[in-house]
């Protein structure tokens, strides 16, 4: 069964190719075909999962070598897939949530003139994402990594006739490229020190035994981290994610919430052996994650665009994942990754329903009380939001509490307090779109309508996942299901029990979440607070929040404006010197060509006379010389 693992990406690729080359002829069948291609991958993933479960823990890592990709001297890379609990978890998330989002997109993209192009990109994305998570060496991983970046670019700019979408696509591609370049350097460093890029060689038992100095490990880890930070939209390379919301909503759900942006978390978790060899790498991961979590939560509260609010929410949640990985709780990061995929996809797709029902309205100020006309969508959004907020016993509660409480039990009191603040802000920021869009007073014009059944059906599954995923995978009695499943790959987490007792922590976490949602209800739904007046009364604070602390402005001052100025000055050189020379020469030739025609009378006999005179002169010269 394991030998067939290549089929999972292969069917996605086949779907992409079919849609790319004969999609025009398939018309409306393009979407279902793409969905089936990803769904088939999910079924194959399940079969492999059952195979894994039937073998004992130590024997759950299989390397499937397909062929030698290329070889140069002692450097050889094979196209090989690694089947282990970590990769299969990612495969199931990518194909499972991916198939549901594909199914949703069939209805969402109904009015698109070329659905085949959309589904070709979407399937291609799934293919590259699967290559990324299944790869058995860093170079193949990098191939998938760049591939998903490409698909992200193509899909953000899917409506490229809108200038905003086109420039958002460029921004996403260029910003992540900064991280990717660093990551490539990290991969080169890995080869320099290990002589191989295979996970078995680099991350195996030998890794700890003094192959490289600690400085080298630090450099490798931080370079890989830079790639992860770019891809996962963490500080300071996060600026592309909110703009990426210009893409179609299923794309935001699949790429910019559930899967691609979590690739950075996967990379850190996969490479944790390298990170642990350095004293500062993991603390850096921790700090970046924690700051991003708080920062994005605050920024989300300032957004009035429902999708941008959700985008900052994604950044904040991934911050939690980095935070968990930075503490060494890799299973905590993975648990949140899985649960987040469910409820964030649910939230995005429901936001898509709202936009569909309100003729592409995304401004929360022009929504309100949608639960009357979109009751089913209101249920979905409530489930997603409460799950994210961490209301027990929904998925987000288990995942987030696992992480926040781990900070306390591992003795990181300061981090615990900050994480608790971030958790409070998370519950607050996600209750905001919930209450502003679906509760309170009606502020939209015309009538809304709820989506068709084909756009609700996938949400049922996601909603069930958003409710029970935590219970099934993360219930804490002697380590959750997911934790024990991932143990062969990620190792057992340290079992220290410092800080407050477990029971007290759970109560604190629940109280914080419920309190924040209650506060959110009071501000945005009760009608007792004039929230619309906030930007007028506190223009400073509202400005800082809605502009996400002016990081974009800062980058504009540091990079964009000097860059534009430089380009302008280069252009002056181009216009004056390069073009100037060419134009001057051309004008001189033109002037000369206005004189020359005087000689051209058109009379053949005159030319013959000139011939004769010329010949005479030549003869004269010859005669004088001899």
């Amino acid at each position: 069964m394991f030998d067939l693992v290549w089929l999972i990406p292969a069917v996605a690729l086949a779907g992409a190719m079919a849609n790319l080359f004969v999609g025009r002829k398939m018309g409306r069948l393009a979407g279902p075909l793409g969905t089936i291609a990803v769904g088939a991958g999910f079924v194959l993933g399940l079969l492999i999962l059952f195979d894994l479960l039937s073998s004992p823990g130590e024997e759950r890592t299989h390397v499937v070598r397909l062929y030698e990709w290329f070889a140069a001297g002692r450097f050889s890379v094979s196209a090989a897939f690694r089947v282990d609990p970590l990769s299969i978890t990612m495969v199931l998330v990518v194909t499972g949530v991916g198939a549901l989002i594909h199914a949703y997109a069939v209805g969402y993209m109904e009015h698109d003139p070329r659905p085949d192009r959309f589904f070709a990109y979407l399937n291609l994305f799934v293919f590259f994402m699967l290559v990324l998570v299944l790869a058995d060496n860093y170079l193949l991983l990098y191939l998938g990594w760049e591939g998903v970046g490409l698909c992200s670019y193509l899909l953000i700019g899917y409506w490229g006739d809108r200038p905003a979408a086109a420039s958002a696509a460029k921004k996403a591609f260029i910003t992540t490229r900064i991280g990717d370049s660093a990551m490539l350097l990290g991969i080169v460093l890995i080869f320099v020190h290990f002589g191989s890029l295979e996970f078995g060689e680099v991350l195996g038992e030998r890794a700890g035994q003094g192959i490289a100095s600690e400085g080298a490990f630090t450099a490798i880890s931080l370079l890989l981290l830079a790639g992860a930070v770019g891809k996962s939209a963490q500080l300071p390379l996060h600026v592309w994610l909110p703009d990426a919301m210009e893409g179609p909503t299923p794309v935001s759900a699949l790429i910019h919430a559930a899967t691609m942006v979590t690739a950075g978390v996967y990379l850190v978790v996969r490479s944790h052996v390298l990170f642990e060899q350095s004293d500062i790498a993991l603390p850096v991961v921790l700090v970046i994650g924690l700051i991003s979590a708080v920062y994005a939560a605050l920024a989300s509260i300032g957004q009035f665009d429902i999708k941008r609010a959700l985008a900052y929410s994604t950044m904040s949640q991934i911050g939690f994942m980095f935070f968990a990985a930075g503490m060494g709780s890799y299973t905590g990061a993975m648990l949140l990754l899985v649960c987040h995929a469910f409820y964030k996809a649910l939230l995005f797709l429901t936001a898509g329903n709202v936009m569909h029902g309100l003729h592409d309205e995304t401004d929360l100020r022009r929504m309100g009380d949608l639960r009357r006309e979109m009751p089913i969508s209101a249920v979905w959004f409530s489930i997603g939001a409460l799950s994210l907020a961490g209301i027990p016993p929904l998925a987000g509660f288990f995942a987030k509490d696992h992480i926040v409480n781990f900070a306390s039990t591992s003795g990181r009191t300061a981090a615990y307090v900050v994480a608790l603040v971030a958790a409070f802000l998370s519950a607050l920021y996600i209750s905001r779109p919930l209450f502003l869009a679906f509760f309170g007073s009606n502020r939209y014009e015309g009538r809304a309508h709820d989506a068709q059944w084909s756009m609700h059906a996938p949400l049922v599954v996601l909603a069930v996942g958003g409710v029970v995923a935590g219970l099934l995978l993360g219930l804490q009695a002697e380590g959750g299901v997911l934790e024990r499943f991932l143990e062969p790959t990620l190792g057992a987490p340290e079992a220290a029990h410092l800080g407050l007792p477990e029971g007290v922590l759970v109560v604190i976490g629940s109280v914080v979440a419920i309190g924040a949602v209650a506060l959110g209800w009071w501000i945005w739904a009760s009608g007792r607070v004039d929230w619309e007046a906030f930007p007028r009364r506190q223009p400073e604070l509202a400005g800082w929040l809605s502009n996400a602390f002016y990081v974009n402005t800062l980058y504009a001052w540091l990079v964009r404006i000097p860059g534009t100025d430089f380009s302008r000055s280069v252009r002056v050189v181009d216009d004056r010197v390069v073009d100037g020379t060419v134009n001057e020469v051309a004008e001189d030739v033109g002037r000369a060509s206005r004189i020359a025609p005087i000689l051209q009378s058109g009379f053949v006999r005159q030319y013959a006379l000139v011939f004769l005179l010329g010949a005479g002169v030549l003869l004269l010269i010859l005669g004088l010389r001899f």
């Binding site: 009378s601 009379f603 053949v604 006999r605 004769l612």
Partner: protein, 101 residues
């Protein structure tokens, strides 16, 4: 006794001069054409004469070349003149001054 080379050269120069004047003063394309042929043959005379003087065949071979080229040129030239005449009903070169700058 051989005829002195100068006679031939004088004949050649005379023919060439007649041809040149013809090209310059006549306006009918056909006559100009004949004058050009006269110039070519004047040169041929000179070539053969020098060839004889040096007792070598190079000049005569060159004269044959020049005749072949002249024949080809006549074919092309006459075709052009014929076509110009068909279009304009005139073989006067001064009427065909389209290339005036």
């Amino acid at each position: 006794m051989r005829t002195p080379i100068a006679y031939f050269l004088i004949l050649s120069a005379a023919l060439f001069a007649i041809g040149t004047v013809g090209v310059l003063v006549r306006r009918n394309a056909l006559v100009i054409f004949m004058s050009v042929e006269l110039q070519l043959n004047a040169v041929n005379v000179a070539l053969v004469a020098f060839s004889r003087m040096h007792n070598e065949l190079d000049g005569q071979v060159l004269a044959f070349f020049s005749m072949v080229v002249a024949a080809a040129e006549v074919v092309v030239g006459l075709a052009i003149i014929l076509n110009v005449y068909r279009r304009r009903h005139s073989a006067i070169v001064d009427d065909v001054s389209l290339l005036r700058g």
